[in-house]
Symmetry: C2
Subunit: 223 residues, 2 copies
């Protein structure tokens, strides 16, 4: 029974990594499409979001089946419950990528990023991709150094998010209301994408250390 | 054992209703503070959000304890897992109320709502309060007529959300970039608040009918 349980947990972990890889592809294409006003690529991201939703839903079904079949308790139970929550956050990260792609499509053939903000959004986009890649590594290895890295990247993204508002509300901003709306929403989506990843990393850390948002770096044996 | 389980599920339901009531108070005060630039009321909402988070966390702990102690299967298991998800959505609704309050505080003593949008945000705020009240009734009674009502109110809120963008991007909009940013963010928070409630109602419906997003109106015996 125990061996079967370990196998099922391992399957659950593989599925989380798989969804995280799909999310990485989505945010990579979404931020590229956003920067280049590439409407075909944006549409691909929008279309593929259903696949992320499906994979997350099927992962949830597996987690519920494991709960029913294996009746885990204590830490094992928390691992399965955390998988459900991580799945939900990954699904939302996919939605943020889709929202960024939708902004690109709405404004096409106009550029969605106003001139003065291209460099900022290029950085935010690259950091969001790094967030997704780091999250995949964290889910694969449970090595908490990746959680620490996520927190650091998130700080950089938060600073860029604030700088977007500084720009838009500053005296030199010559953007139209459309530019202002787009910058506000796009910045929020980029920032929320990273927030969800940090939330996931807190759950992984919690399983390792037993403390929410702990800064501990104890090794973790999450299967 | 079965009787104990029913008692614990009933406790879980009471806790969901309790958090929903706290969220109702939060959105009611947040939207009032937003409309009136009442910074003291906004600060109360911001301060009280920690209480919502705490209550949601303790509800989650209860759900995990029920899973460990009662080892539910089939529909009983799905009820407990759904409670975890509903709790998470309620917690996010509290965050949306907090964000609306934060916008109010940031701009104080300036008014956060631009002149041309006061009527729209007044309506959106009143509808968000109605959403929270209807959600509490749904969680209390599991009567699916409340789920249908939530969907209808959500449609109204979505229409108002779109009308905010029409206004801000229209030719008569004389707002500053600050007005544009605030309207964009505030409208998004109001709209997301209702989305979370609709997501919760889908979970309640699912428990009743076995189908996600079903339009069925079969009676539900969720304790």
């Amino acid at each position: 029974m125990r061996e079967m349980f370990q196998q099922e947990l391992s399957e659950l972990q593989d599925r989380l990594v798989e969804v995280s890889e799909l999310v990485t592809e989505a945010i990579s294409k979404a931020t590229t499409a956003f920067g280049e006003s590439n409407v075909a690529m944006a549409e691909e991201v929008i279309e593929n979001d259903a696949q992320i939703d499906d994979r997350a839903l099927s992962l949830d079904e597996l987690a519920i089946q494991i709960l029913a079949r294996q009746q885990p308790v204590a830490r094992d139970l928390r691992i399965v419950v955390s998988a459900l929550r991580i799945s939900s956050s990954l699904e939302r990260m996919g939605d943020m990528a889709e929202h960024i792609a939708q902004l690109t499509r709405y404004r096409f053939p106009e550029k969605v990023v106003a001139k003065g903000l291209r460099g900022t959004f290029k950085k935010m986009g690259a950091l969001d991709v790094e967030v997704a890649e780091t999250l995949t590594k964290l889910l694969k290895t449970q090595n908490l150094k990746h959680a620490d890295k996520l927190r650091d990247i998130d700080d950089e993204i938060d600073a860029l998010h604030l700088s977007v508002f500084d720009k838009v509300l500053g005296e030199t901003w010559g953007g139209t209301p459309v530019d202002t709306v787009d910058a506000t929403l796009a910045s929020r989506y980029h920032e929320r994408f990273a927030d969800h990843a940090v939330n996931i990393s807190k759950k992984v850390k919690y399983l390792s250390t037993g403390e929410w948002a702990s800064d501990g770096t104890a090794p973790i044996d999450l299967p």
